[in-house]
Symmetry: D2
Subunit: 341 residues, 4 copies
């Protein structure tokens, strides 16, 4: 069936799979200290244009969020996030399971507002009983957000500034970072992102890998004993090569960005299709997740012909749905979709 | 200085202290299995009119919330609470520290709305990806609420019903329960409360004890190994007698209710004082916490003459403050306050 | 360099890699509910000869131990393990991180003794203050053990019996299960193992996969909400197909056992090599991990020519080392090693 | 019945109770920032002869151990303790519940041996895979130990030295500290103890208080946000005055030491009684816990006439029991016991 379900419903990009094949016969030490991981890390460091950056590979997004946040927070600290943030809404309480409160603020099409973050922090420290409350110890955002929207450079800079003012790290979940970096509307380059946050990750799972997220500590600021923290979370792969080889491929010959550009081209065409047919968008997403409001009859009709995600009810008669393009999306699929709309 | 700071700023009620004195020479086993705890529990069971009820004494409110909630939830479950609920706002993340998310819903003058709880539960189970989310495993409310308001019997019944529909327990934080039970507007008796919830506690610390909260499992439903869970939280006193003796006093000769009635009489007079002087109330509280909106000049003036709590900013020029009556509050103190208003 | 470092230093077995390649173009839903996972699970269920068995795929061993143990234990329970057990010694406190004590008993060449487990349980419940102690809630063993040794069917039956007596589950870590099942000395078949324990896993990472462990609940006894527990631990892969495809290959045409037999043939030859040259074994291991005591001069000499693991000091002048065979080990490599000994 | 069950089976020392009575009418702020807590802390600081010392009052021993250890350790760290240590054996896994492994070493009549601690630390850092293990982050000892024995100044100095070498704090559980400080054999004064460790507590519960332990950070080294950590553990009493008043009494007119001296005098006489009657001691305890080996007939006879604790089986025919003196123990009780032996 025609599918716009997600960007993780297909296998590996051929170049990624080929790298696994080509390196398969090598004998390599375990636990991520192999040459493939080193080579991949090196390429990522160069792409970030931060010689002091450190890179650590993990297998999936929720795992990465849990490990990175736990590694940064003291027990009395929580993490500020948009209410729509993945860690607040769709990770089964992984952050709380590791002992930390998600301090949810209102979202604006998926984004945190820097002024609201500052107001929250000001109010916190102005409250006479703040030592009976959860200290805000980190700010978590996603680029692109869970609604496909982007932080502009100015917005990111503003968050960076407020985090500096309060001495708390800014963490960017980049599970779909490729689609931010290659979006037509985007004005934040990878080196700029690296400069403006304290830790972020470059998502592989949703960008042509079988699994894998590359955590970047841009300022050489990997937390002490991070390796042991990863092990303690059950997050260390014995064959770290699986992650190293894939990211080595993704950062060879610009593959990560080539995938990004293709997916974004397909996404913009898909968006245009819906727009031209007069569909209503839930919000204006500039990346590869498009949220459309369907009346429930249309919903039922389309569900029988094409796979996509039912996001949430809109009202009694309408539903928000999500269409996503991925590295395998083709013009033929878009044409087939167009015929159904 | 004249003080309406809180109901825990004075020592023990004389009858409570006397009981500690009278029982001091007894040799009693430790860890809560002594005769004083048994006698106190027996009196509470009778006051609740539930022969099958079980009682367990703990030292403080946050501790009780943490232990009771952790004892009921499985790891994948969280607890629904009003955003203003004590566990969400003022317990330094104690619930999250034990691994569970507080699922905060909007509050209505401190209260959860049963229909909104039902809507939340319906939406949860209607969401196709609910197994990636935190399961709602309990409903937590406070009677009276953190804003001094009360659940009516109808409201409590409605919450009871929705909890039954979804097979999740209803937990009532009664840190100030005496002031609910004796409030003029109250229509929920102690036996009715016991019948309508799954676990609740009768606060002692704020009702004339030095410390202590009596957890009641009205239906003989104490969680398995509750004693060990308490120990594991560091919440078991070696000299459990300290709690038993105090609650034995509080439930002798109706003391708990006598304290409640005195405090409420003082509270209603205090409320009248503010009303007569034309002060604006933040909300209409029927119990011993009164929330008043002061302009900031008045705030500054009063702060130099009487102790009370600055609650939160109201707007640029006004502040919400809290005045509380306790078992030591006298008519003379109210007269002195009246002279200042 | 010649390497007997471990069984996870090479890539995927060709048939495993081929399956990834062959299935790469399929569009499949995420999170482990795809056809490849279903097919693999089905094959494993049949191999276990337990129609009611359930299978769940996870990425790595420490992760699996943490998730499975946490899913079974109540907060007041710990897990009995040999002091040498992986969860006690080499998982960076992953079990304690999830809140549970490892109740370590002495090991006998890596094995727990059923009589000692029973004595521990008897003493626990005979202790008047057991409710101040950690309840034993599970027994964890590894087959083969961390020292390469095996539980015989009689030993496994004895552990099964004591676990039944005390109503606690028996969990078998099978990270290297293939090498138990195909060891010449082994008398426990896969169906017998499945019948004698409550949950176990079939290790993939060390048996030709890139990653992956197949957790088996032989009696249809998967814990409630296991999927959410997995998600909460950050242990759920978006592309569950990665695990499904690999295990589908491993359980096609007997590959899991073919790998096992090859590795064990190499291991027995390696053991013979050391024996013939007069080397001293630390213990008599019947599987693919061989522990040899080297004098420190020989250690230094060999380390420059062949890769292996320094296990632990033996005495001032000797060291315990480990040699491991894997699916890539060849007769040529053994010949080369022989020339060095 | 005649009782040597424990030192926490009686109420408060009259001077402690009197202080509660005398201060009861004072209006004091909550949460431990009151004048009584300040006065008590000041007296303790002076008794420790460390002007920079900080004092924090908590309610009970397990709570104190859990909070103090959690406040010092990073997530990847565990705490070294004797296998017989209270945190390892009798706190229901409170340390593991807060995420940390207890790294149990053999005990010597309840004591850790400094050389064995050093050997453990050396072996840890010499192990090539130590980053897959739990980092030793603290050393926990009890003075007196759980077997009533004492660390000499030389032994304490040796532990202090090894902790300094490895930059980990030394924590002393002083639940019965009074009985160490006043034991005839003791050579470690309170100021010396304060100088030789990083954090310790002065037990009140077992020394005449109703509850309460005074945590001392001798070097002004209270962990950041300790107050919030306490709150998060549910360990903060609203009426902190309950702890302040009691410790103010205990450190007025030398009461803590007067209680200690009386209890120790009774203990030494009790020890002499058993010795003169030819009873066998399990070990030679110099403090108020005396461990005697009874044949099981004698055990049965004595149990019907006097209360004491059955500690553990000794062999088939004998049992280890514990007799404890407390602040209420009298010569008349010893005479009555003598008549029974």
């Amino acid at each position: 069936m025609l599918s716009f379900l997600s960007d993780y419903t297909n296998g590996a990009h051929p170049e990624v799979l080929q790298r696994l094949y080509d390196t398969n016969a090598q004998t390599l030490p375990g636990y991520g200290v192999d040459l493939l991981c080193a080579a991949a890390a090196d390429k990522i460091v160069r792409a970030c244009q931060k010689a002091e950056a450190q890179v650590y590979f993990l297998a999936g997004g929720t795992q990465t969020n849990q490990v990175v946040i736990a590694a940064h927070l003291r027990s009395y600290e929580g993490v500020i996030a948009a209410a729509s943030g993945h860690i607040n809404a769709h990770e089964a309480g992984a952050i709380e399971y590791s002992g930390h409160k998600v301090l949810a603020l209102p979202h604006h099409d998926g984004r945190l507002d820097a002024d609201e973050v500052r107001a929250y922090l000001q109010a916190f420290y102005a409250d006479g009983s703040y030592d009976h409350m959860v200290f805000p110890g980190m700010v978590y955002i996603s680029q692109p957000t869970e609604y496909g929207t982007l932080y502009s450079k100015a917005q990111l800079q503003a968050l960076h500034t407020v985090c500096r003012e309060y001495h708390i790290p800014l963490f960017v979940d980049g599970a779909r970072l490729a689609y931010a970096l290659t979006a037509p509307d985007n004005d934040v380059s990878l080196p700029e992102l690296a400069a403006l946050c304290d830790v972020f990750y470059i998502g592989g799972t949703k960008v042509g890998a079988l699994c894998g997220e590359a955590v970047v500590f841009p300022h050489g600021n990997m937390p002490k004993r991070f390796n042991t923290i990863v092990k303690q979370h059950g997050a260390m792969l014995a064959k770290g090569r699986l992650l190293g080889a894939q990211f080595d491929a993704l950062f060879t010959d610009d593959l990560y960005f080539r995938i990004g550009r293709h997916v974004m081209e397909m996404a913009m065409r898909l968006k245009t299709l819906f727009a031209e047919k007069g569909y209503r968008f839930y919000l204006d997403s500039p990346t590869n997740q498009q949220f459309v409001v369907l009346d429930n009859d249309t919903l039922a009709r389309l569900q029988s012909q094409v796979a996509f995600t039912v996001w949430e009810p809109f009202d009694e008669a309408h539903t928000v749905v999500r269409f996503v393009t991925g590295w395998t999306t083709t013009q033929e699929e878009l044409d087939a979709l167009a015929a159904l709309l």
